[in-house]
Symmetry: C2
Subunit: 247 residues, 2 copies
Amino acid sequence: MSRYDPSAFPPFAVTVDLVVLTVREHALCALVVRRGEPPFQGYWALPGGFVRPDEGLAEAAARELAEETGLRAHTAHGQAAAGAHLEQLATYGHPQRDPRLRVVSVAHLALAPDLPTPRPGGDARSARWAPVGELLGRGGEDGVPLAFDHAAILADGVERARSKIEYSSLATAFCPAEFTVGELRRVYESVWGVVLDPRNFHRKVTGTPGFLVPSGGTTTRQGGRPAQLFRAGGATVLNPPMLRPEP
Amino acid sequence: MSRYDPSAFPPFAVTVDLVVLTVREHALCALVVRRGEPPFQGYWALPGGFVRPDEGLAEAAARELAEETGLRAHTAHGQAAAGAHLEQLATYGHPQRDPRLRVVSVAHLALAPDLPTPRPGGDARSARWAPVGELLGRGGEDGVPLAFDHAAILADGVERARSKIEYSSLATAFCPAEFTVGELRRVYESVWGVVLDPRNFHRKVTGTPGFLVPSGGTTTRQGGRPAQLFRAGGATVLNPPMLRPEP
DNA sequence: GTAATAGTGTCTCTCAGACATTATGCA
DNA sequence: TGCATAATGTCTGAGAGACACTATTAC
């Protein structure tokens, strides 16, 4: 067997990268930052950074998320603070994925409600919300692809989000604390890129136990007849699941 | 912002750990090896080892799997060689998870057919297939828990396998190349820990397009009336999914 | 009024779950 | 002959999908 001597282990750099998704104007968008230094200088990239010697992976991801967006993270067993859902996505460690040194990146997926300000991070780098279709289909807005292997990471994050809102109540993470059935339906439509029947959708989500709880109030912020406001119920898994229509 | 100088990155050790599952005698079993050195000397642990400087994560996992079991790995886009299914599970990086040094472990999940020999690895360490219920419920066979955080990793792997055979054809990875509907049903029963109706199961799996293709032959290795033999079809996702009965 | 969205009801078809019977090989 | 397992058929109820109508606000 070829077990290494632990005192002579090969050293790696470990980072966290973030796929932060939100729904803006009926489009699924991801947070990207512009790189100010080589390699890939001037390219758009996913936010991220090195894991510190004394912090865990989820901790590092939550710290980076707070630095980039000001959001507190809701982990699975998480806090009650207002903020985003955060979960580990996958780990990317191809030997040549960073030309400088051997970097293993633990990617995380964050789902956030539409933020008033797509505010840049604390430093001078610029940041923006970009529709994922623009980022994944033939490069970015200038035809420039994402830095490193970030396009693959983003694609995996988007696919995770698309499949996970089927059988979990995670779609509510894209909504503000109080939301209407129509707003939740537009989240599903934006993430899946489909059109859903409003009547069947309403019957389904209100009939799934623990998914939605009425908050009592109503709103007309979408125009038309006043709509009932709901909060996310306690249920995390949906039974029966929402079904994504096939093309 | 607190971006580290890449030339002064904090060094980590990166390992791969393997959750190798199989079905033996109507029980879901995991491969564990006995540790010959501290820490956790004498404890059972998941097989694994350090990632080498020039290999990728999946590559390292496939190498460890071959060393421990002799199986070739079938990755998602993988080879045609006879062997096990292998996929990345999750990454574990709590700062104190290894008392010696900072280790980030990228856990992988492997699903294998029942192997004739639970043969130990190339070195002198002993290895065995242990029922996961025994490993997860109140420690191992001697009441000894698994080393490090391996109980949590194993639990995550088992849950991944349990949920993934619902909507994918992965259950066939537990079967030999040719198998009967009854054998496949016993896989589902063992992994889920339930009893399934043979008639409904037969109707369901044979009616799902692309799941099973008849190989033409029959067998009586289970006794009783000769059963038709099948191979795994090309389908990877099942539509409609198999439904896990609730307790 | 018009326009916009919210909310409810009905029908049909597919499928999951419960259940009985016949078929075939081995000891 | 007895026993094991395989394979097929029928019924019923739940739920998804298609579709029409009424309700309530803003302008």
